[in-house]
């Protein structure tokens, strides 16, 4: 219980720090955004009004406080490139990115866990080597290049889907999912390879532990040893790794959305950076950062559940 409380406090504190850093980072942007936005011909009053609206007056802490309270009410300001509230932009794009991440993550688990166990069980044998070949190749391919290959192979050559024919989830959910499979795969395969490799070596390491010998001496057969004794231990380090992978999956969607022209947050972020639309950049960065912090929190909680040594501390 104490552990949980401590972790919750850390979570809140980290979120505050992250939000502050995100806020502060975009305060060092060179030039006066208000002037940039209105052009040099604007009147003093207009500029002053916009400065007020853009929260450019007062010292840093005051402005941070004001910004934070606006964030809580969902008011993120106005996008300079689209001239509409940032919040509605984000809400519109968010589902695509969340779906992409969720699908990618499912693919990662489905691909890595069974094959990882299989490779570890057959360490050094043919199956292991074949899996290992695919792991190495998978890890070496940048997701966006894999995306291009998938587009070429399944889109242009096999014609299983039409590249660029994205359909929103509200229009036709089935078609939406059918299209999303490909970007999700492109995003998932390299990360699945990493998880697989990590899981494999973790299982192999655990199989050499003394307690496995004890389990054998008790008369256990190999499969029960693997599933009852080894896997739980082997998953402990993998858990942290998966936490990192989720963060990577989120970041990976930035490029993947570009490849498959998905109207998600990643694509919005890239556009916003190119167009110096800082209000949008800031919010997306904050969103991704907060998600990562929360994921790490969840991983910590899961730890407590899986590893008794953490529980007592």
């Amino acid at each position: 219980m104490k552990y949980t409380l401590k972790k919750v406090l850390t979570l809140v504190l980290t979120l505050l720090i992250v939000s502050f850093l995100t806020f502060i980072a975009f305060q060092v942007v060179p030039g006066d955004s208000a002037v940039t936005q209105l052009g040099t011909n604007a009147t003093e009053e207009n500029i002053e009004a916009l400065r007020e609206a853009m929260n450019l007056n007062g010292n840093v802490l005051v402005r941070y406080g004001r910004w934070l309270s606006r964030v809580f009410t969902g008011d993120f300001g106005i996008s300079s490139q689209y001239k509409i509230p940032v919040s509605s932009l984000i809400l519109e794009r968010m589902p695509v990115t969340i779906w992409l991440a969720a699908l990618s993550f499912s693919f990662i688990l489905v691909l890595s866990i069974p094959f990882g166990i299989m490779a570890a069980k057959k360490e050094g044998e043919g199956v292991d080597r074949i899996i290992s070949f695919f792991t190495h190749t998978g890890m070496g391919i940048p997701p966006f290049f894999l995306g291009i290959i998938i587009t070429l192979l399944f889109g242009f050559i096999l014609k299983w889907f039409t590249p660029g024919s994205y359909i929103g989830p509200k229009e036709n959910f089935g078609l939406f999912l059918g299209y999303m499979i490909y970007p999700a795969l492109a995003n998932a395969i390299p990360k699945a390879a990493m998880v697989l490799k990590f899981l494999r070596s973790s299982i192999i390491r655990q199989l050499q532990m003394d307690y496995v010998r004890t389990a054998r001496s008790k008369g256990n057969l190999e499969n029960p040893i693997l599933y009852k004794h080894v896997l739980k231990n082997a998953f402990i380090p993998v858990l942290t790794f998966i936490g990192m992978i989720i963060a990577d999956t989120l970041a990976g969607s930035i490029a993947i959305e570009q490849v498959f022209s998905l109207p998600g947050l990643g694509r919005l972020l890239v556009m916003a950076i190119s167009n110096r639309d800082y209000a949008v950049v800031q919010v997306i960065v904050l969103y991704i950062a907060a998600t990562i912090v929360v994921i790490n929190f969840i991983v910590d909680m899961l730890y407590q559940w899986i590893d008794p040594r953490v529980r007592v501390k």
Binding site: M209, D210, Y211, R213, T214, A215, R216, S217, K218, G219, N220, L221, E222, K228, H229, K232, N233, I236, I306, D307, P308, R309, V312
Partner: protein
């Protein structure tokens, strides 16, 4: 007579690598009778553990039994399928291992780990009944409060308790054979004796035959009737413990016995001598000729002789090189908070001692008694101290327990030996080179070893390098922190000899720290006994070993099997 329970015949185990086979055991044959405790003794690498693992069918993937048979109740265990073998494992033959800290699964409760035995071998039991049996087994292994232990995880238990859990687990199905592989090596001396007693008790109560594997002759002698001596994968000697200890036939056994330092050895020799006169045999005991006189003497005479020998060496003026008064040493606890004050825990309490020029002062105690901490405080490695440390000479140097950790693995031997001279400064490159060569010779290492990395050296050779690096700086006081405990018995003896020789040649004083009473007795003039951070007794070595005053000293001496 009954059939033997286990009959091991001509078992050869080897590692296969490509086409090459390297043998670990060579035609090992022995029998285990019903109800007996059979000792298997030998140094690490002698193949004793491999033989045990072969009986259990637990050899690692790259090792295999090349020939031979292991008969258990008329079945050849080596020919059984894995499924059949695993029905015998745990149920009829069970095993406990050296490392109680890692032998239990860290994420499963104690109760469930023991219960698993019953699930595997007596699946018909009801769950209530299973739990009852587990609690009984824990109780029988002398574990208190089995009910709460049932739901605990291994990391919540001490090493000794974990080994008891292992024993409870191994015994729950009342196996016919228990194999104990170095069951006490990782434990403290006082706990060692208790675990051995427990094994003996279980052997008596259940009639379980035991194979006890150990490198420690003392352990073997304490509970075994019959023993095997293994060397380089072969059984070199077999017989009753009495025969082996009093009348070793093979050179290797003699060497092992000779390497058993100090009092224990003498005790054995005396027993042997007694037996000799009693039986009227005139069989000659072939021991190294220098030890011959010692053997024939009574203990007191030997001691007098030893003392006079030491006197010759010792500097006549009895000036102290080191004086320690009322020393408290604190240990900084790991606090994982950013701005928390450091928490200091007192580990050494009001210790006073002195070392004279040319003297060897021993400090003996169990692990955790604070003796290593004291050593580090004296050399200045630990700064959190209060009290007085008066040093009359150059800064003392130190030789650590583990020669694998005390020398820089990224450097060559000659670099390591040269480094103190470089730091001290004032030597030309040529002078440094010469000095290194001289030291290599003094510690008994060949010149060409200077160009090697540590990974290419044996443990004994590394410890020689460590000793060389300590004396090259001309310090008169050397602190030796368990300098031989990480080494094999025969190597131990050689290193102790080297230390004696260097003391004479360089007129050194030693502060000699060890948990091993035999080693202490062999090396030291005076001894301090440490217990829970305090020195409870300081006395001349002979006096301490014959008339210990403090109750703890007495208890400690009792553990000297």
């Amino acid at each position: 007579m009954n059939h033997p329970l286990i009959k091991v015949k001509d078992v050869t185990i080897g590692f296969r690598d490509k086409g090459n086979v390297s043998k670990v055991t060579d035609k090992v044959s022995f029998q285990l009778e019903k109800g007996e405790i059979l000792g298997v003794v030998g140094e690490s690498g002698s193949g004793k553990t491999m033989t045990a693992l072969a009986i259990m069918g637990l050899l690692s993937k790259d090792a295999e039994v090349l020939e031979g048979s292991i008969l258990f109740e008329h079945k050849d265990l080596l020919k059984l399928k894995q499924e059949e073998l695993r029905k015998i494992n745990g149920n009829q033959i069970s095993m406990i291992f050296q490392e109680p800290m890692t032998s239990l699964n860290p994420v499963i409760t104690i109760g469930h780990q023991i219960e698993e035995m019953l699930l595997l071998h007596e699946p018909e039991l009801h769950s209530d009944e299973r739990k009852k049996r587990v609690l009984e087994a824990l109780q029988e292994a002398d574990l208190k409060d089995p009910e709460s232990l049932f739901y605990k995880y291994p990391h919540q238990l001490s090493g000794g308790m974990r080994q008891r859990v292992m024993i409870a687990m191994a015994m729950i199905c009342s196996p016919k054979v228990l194999i104990a592989d170095e069951p006490t090596t990782a434990l403290d001396v006082t706990i060692q004796a208790k675990i051995l007693k427990l094994i003996k008790k279980l052997n008596k109560d259940h009639g379980t035959s035991v194979i006890l594997i150990s490198h420690d002759l003392g352990v073997i002698k304490s509970i075994c009737k019959r023993a095997l001596v293994m060397q380089d994968g072969k059984i070199v000697e077999e017989g009753t413990v009495e025969e082996i200890f009093s009348d070793p036939v093979k050179d290797y056994t003699k060497k092992l016995l000779a390497a058993m330092p100090g009092r224990e050895k003498k005790k054995l020799y005396n027993e042997a001598a007694e037996k000799e006169t009693y039986q009227g045999h005139s069989k000659k005991l072939e021991v190294e000729s220098t030890k011959k006189a010692e053997r024939d003497c009574t203990e007191a005479e030997t001691e007098a002789k030893r003392k006079s020998e030491i006197k010759e060496v010792r500097n006549t003026d009895e000036v102290t090189i080191l004086e320690v008064h009322h020393l408290d040493v604190f240990y900084e606890e790991n606090v994982k908070k950013v701005f928390a004050k450091k928490k200091l825990k007192k580990v050494v309490n009001k210790v006073s001692l002195s070392v004279k020029y040319g003297e060897v002062l021993g400090i003996v105690g169990e692990s955790g008694s604070g003796k290593s901490t004291l050593a580090k405080a004296i050399t200045g490695l630990i700064k959190d101290v209060s009290g007085e440390i008066k040093l009359k000479d150059k800064k003392p140097q130190m030789v650590f327990q583990d020669p694998y950790g005390s020398l820089n693995p990224a450097k060559k031997v000659s670099w390591i030996l040269e480094e103190p001279l470089r730091i001290a400064g004032g030597y030309t490159r040529q002078e440094r080179k010469e000095k290194v060569l001289q030291i290599l010779k003094e510690v008994g290492l060949k010149e060409k070893l200077g160009e090697r990395y540590l990974s290419q050296l044996s443990g004994g050779q590394r410890q020689r390098v460590a000793i060389g690096a300590a004396i090259i700086q001309n310090s008169r006081l050397i602190v030796l922190d368990e300098p031989v405990s990480a080494l094999d018995v025969t190597v131990q003896a050689q290193i102790l000899e080297l230390l004696k020789k260097l003391r004479e040649e360089h007129d050194l004083s030693y502060l000699f720290i060890s948990h091993d009473l035999n080693v202490i007795y062999q090396m030291c003039d005076r001894v301090c006994v440490m217990y829970q951070g305090e020195i409870v007794e300081t006395a001349d070595a002979w006096d301490l070993f014959h008339q210990p005053n403090h109750p703890y000293s007495k208890k400690l001496l009792e553990t000297m099997v």
